[in-house]
């Protein structure tokens, strides 16, 4: 028996690893078909039989003896969830529902812990998933409640409330098993003091050549003291200018053409994006070269917060702005959309949807859970803006979100550009819809891009080689 359990744990662990590895790929909302299908159905059915016996005994709950919901989430309590739960408890005091926030670390082990608790059938009433692969695994394993009935009963229209386009990838055969609650919008993070000093206004839209020119103007100094106009983050992600800039014209499936049958690496926008990185590094010297990034392990956090560059393509590092302990600073941070290709229509913006809230089907307090889920997704999430999370729900008042977002950093964030780039809805997101051999193709392009940036191959040569190798791989 014990051995069986050990084996189950090992298997679950392996699956966890696989799911985490899958998740590392990107932020684009994409529901994967069958992560770990076989093993999941097993564990799901087992858990169901276990839960059936004990459940449904104390459903309902009166005002004297409030129902206590256990809500599992992966955001540290102090970054908003505690404030959110406190608000809920205050609001639902008289309705006989109280909630408790249980923090799990959102890594392999933490997710495994959540899943084993879910399988055991008690201890979790509602929970957050942060990764599509984990989510689909939980849906397939029967660990997430079908919300259709509850939605119909209460007239809670998920597509209407959260935006059909945003939530469509979380619909499994017409059924919602979760409510995505958060959206991200990404952009360039700018050191406003440097822009002011150079007399450059914060851009609200710009092309590659405008971006390149501004970066050149902001570059000054020599050697270790040099301040760069921009940092392109090529050690961590050499594909930045494609994935974050070029994607605005090409959309989420920028690597493919013909529906995934061939690569798109010689598209003019891809060439332009590669050329931009090459020129800024090797012609203008306005961005640290790729070799410097690699040999010095340069990161967006360090480069930006230590004022070694005026711009980084990583608005998600905004959390550092409030972390004055690790990054003592007094400059103002502003934001701008990513630059777009000079000669192409650019309808998409970089962004994604996340924080998927689900109900444990084995919870004895489904109705109370549903109350919580409705409340959280339409108002309870607001305090989480303190930690940088923007509510997806369309009916939420932006001003309240802004207030939480800026709290404790009022003097360090530029209000206008932060609101425009990070908070207010700005356009359609570039969603990924296909991914045949995505990791391999990414690695091929990475190698060729490395050769381009290091001067081994010209932009055209490198990308032509990438296209040839990629197509060979896809044809296999």
């Amino acid at each position: 028996m014990k051995m069986k359990r050990t084996m189950a744990l090992i298997l679950a662990g392996l699956l966890g690893i696989s799911a985490a590895a899958c998740g590392a790929k990107g932020t684009d909302g994409q529901a994967s078909g069958g992560s770990g299908a076989g093993a999941d159905t097993d564990s799901g059915s087992e858990a169901q039989t276990g839960g059936g016996a004990s459940g449904k005994t104390e459903s309902g709950g009166s005002a004297e003896d409030p129902v206590l919901l256990k809500i599992w989430g992966g955001v540290p309590p102090e970054a908003g969830p505690q404030a959110s739960v406190d608000l809920f408890n205050e609001a639902y005091k008289d309705k006989g529902i109280q909630a408790e926030y249980v923090y799990y670390v959102n890594d392999e082990n933490g997710n495994l812990k959540l899943e084993t608790t879910l399988m055991a059938g008690e201890g979790v009433d509602a929970y957050m998933s942060y990764d599509e692969r984990y989510l689909s695994k939980r849906v397939e394993g029967g660990m997430a409640l079908d919300l259709t009935e509850l939605c119909e009963r209460d007239g809670f229209d998920i597509k209407e409330l959260f935006g059909e386009e945003m939530v469509s990838s979380y619909e499994y055969d017409g059924v919602f098993y979760c409510i995505p609650t958060k959206r991200d919008q990404y952009g360039m993070m700018l050191n406003k003091d440097m822009f002011d000093e150079a007399g450059i206004p914060i851009p609200t839209e710009w092309t590659y050549s405008e971006f390149r020119e501004i970066a050149k103007q902001l570059t000054h100094g020599e050697g270790e003291q040099k301040v760069y106009g921009a940092f392109l983050n090529t050690d961590q992600n050499i594909l930045t200018t494609f994935q974050y800039f070029g994607v605005s014209a090409l959309g989420g499936d920028w690597m493919y053409k013909d529906g995934g049958a061939a690569t798109n690496f010689t598209h003019p926008v891809v060439i332009e994006s590669a050329q931009l990185a090459y020129d800024m590094m090797n012609v203008d010297g306005s961005a640290p070269t790729h070799v410097d990034s690699v040999t010095q392990k340069l990161s967006c956090d360090g480069m930006f917060m230590n004022e070694r560059t005026a711009m980084v393509p990583a608005s998600w590092t905004v959390r550092n702005v409030k972390n004055l302990e690790a990054y003592p600073h007094d400059f103002v941070t502003a934001f701008a959309p990513y630059p777009v290709p000079d000669n192409a229509e650019s309808p998409y913006i970089m962004g994604g949807v996340g924080d998927m809230l689900s109900i444990n089907p084995k919870s004895p307090n489904i109705d109370a859970c549903w109350e919580y889920v409705k409340w959280y997704s339409t108002e309870g999430i607001i305090p989480l803006a303190y930690g940088g999370r923007i509510p997806l729900c369309k009916s939420i008042d932006t001003d309240e979100v802004v207030e939480y977002f800026f709290r404790d950093a009022e003097d360090l964030l530029d209000e206008e550009s932060t609101k425009y780039v990070m908070i207010e809805p700005r356009g359609s997101y570039a969603f990924l819809t296909i991914s045949p051999k995505a990791s391999e193709l990414g690695d091929i392009l990475k190698e060729e891009m490395e050769a381009i940036l290091n001067g081994q191959k010209s932009v055209e040569e490198g990308l032509a080689d990438a296209e040839r190798r990629g197509n060979e791989l896809l044809a296999k």
């Binding site: 076989g38 010095q296 050769a451």
Partner: protein, 297 residues
């Protein structure tokens, strides 16, 4: 069954019970995964598709890798790495061990210092080396001192990245080899050396004619273990270069890891692991056969 047989059986069972925990651990964590990896190496198992959803594809995995440029580069780099790293490390260790034994004061601190890299955390040590190879690090500065205008970029350079990794591997392993050699040197027969000196053999002559042959069993042991060790280099590459630039530091275990956990081709990764095993097995066999010519006990 006679009483004697029964007693024998009882003793046997007691014995087996004692080794049971160990056997169990080995079966569970070594034997089962090994057999499992051999089985899946003949399938096209994709990690994401879950357990059991695979097709038998015979030896296709084993054939495919010889057309895979990533595998071939990994194989080439690993072989270069091993065949440079092992001889240099051992030669260096032998010289250092003898020199420290014969000529150094404060032998213990020196040996301890040399052994430190071997017992230090690989990740921490590697990160220190990354800094040393950075443009502000000692290597670049040293090269600049000799008047080179464009010093190599070490880990960012197609030509120099692999030598940089090799240098670090030598540094990491040499202390261990010195330690093993030192213990062997301390057991050398003093009278033979005395006799050699009486016959007029100098230090150099003694080293090549006596010390080297006397230590050959130790050398043999080190060669085999080092080869196995170096062929399995992974963490250093993962941290320092991620196989780059291009494929210049792509090594076998790193590519196996990537195939399995980035590309989810478990079957293919398993097949490459078995090829790695085969290579190590052949190298070890050759050395066992060859030892008769140069190892004297």
């Amino acid at each position: 069954m006679s009483a004697k047989k029964l007693r024998q059986l009882k003793t046997d069972i007691t014995g087996y019970l004692f080794i049971l925990p160990n056997i169990l651990g080995m079966v569970l964590f070594t034997l089962v995964p090994m057999i499992f990896s051999l089985i899946i190496s003949f399938t096209d198992w994709n990690f994401v598709k879950g357990f059991g959803s695979w097709e038998w594809i015979g030896i296709e995995n084993y054939l495919e890798m010889w057309q895979d440029e990533w595998f071939l580069s990994a194989l080439r780099n690993t072989v270069i790495l091993a065949f440079v790293c092992v001889p240099v490390t051992i030669a260096l260790a032998l010289v250092i061990a003898v020199a420290v034994e014969r000529f150094a004061y404060a032998k213990l601190p020196i040996r301890l210092a040399m052994f430190m890299p071997y017992i230090s955390n690989v990740v921490a040590v590697t990160i220190v080396w990354v800094m040393m190879y950075s443009p502000w690090g000692p290597f670049t500065q040293m090269v600049k001192m000799f008047g080179v205008k464009n010093p190599p970029q070490w880990l960012g350079d197609y030509t120099w990245a692999l030598p940089a990794v090799i240098l670090m591997m030598i540094w990491a392993n040499v202390g261990y080899c010195v330690m093993i050699y030192t213990s062997a040197i301390q057991g050398l027969p003093g009278d033979v050396y005395e006799a050699a000196r009486m016959d007029g053999a100098g230090e150099i002559c003694q080293f090549f004619r006596l010390t080297v042959p006397f230590l050959s069993p130790t050398t043999f042991f080190l060669v085999i273990t080092l080869f196995i060790n170096v062929f399995q280099i992974f963490a250093q590459v993962q941290i320092m270069t991620k196989g780059g630039p291009g494929t210049s530091t792509n090594v076998m275990v790193y590519y196996i890891y990537k195939s399995a956990f980035n590309y989810y081709n478990m079957g293919y990764a398993a097949a490459m692991s078995w090829i790695l095993f085969a290579i190590l097995f052949v190298i070890t066999i050759i050395q066992w056969r060859g030892q008769k010519r140069w190892v004297s006990y």
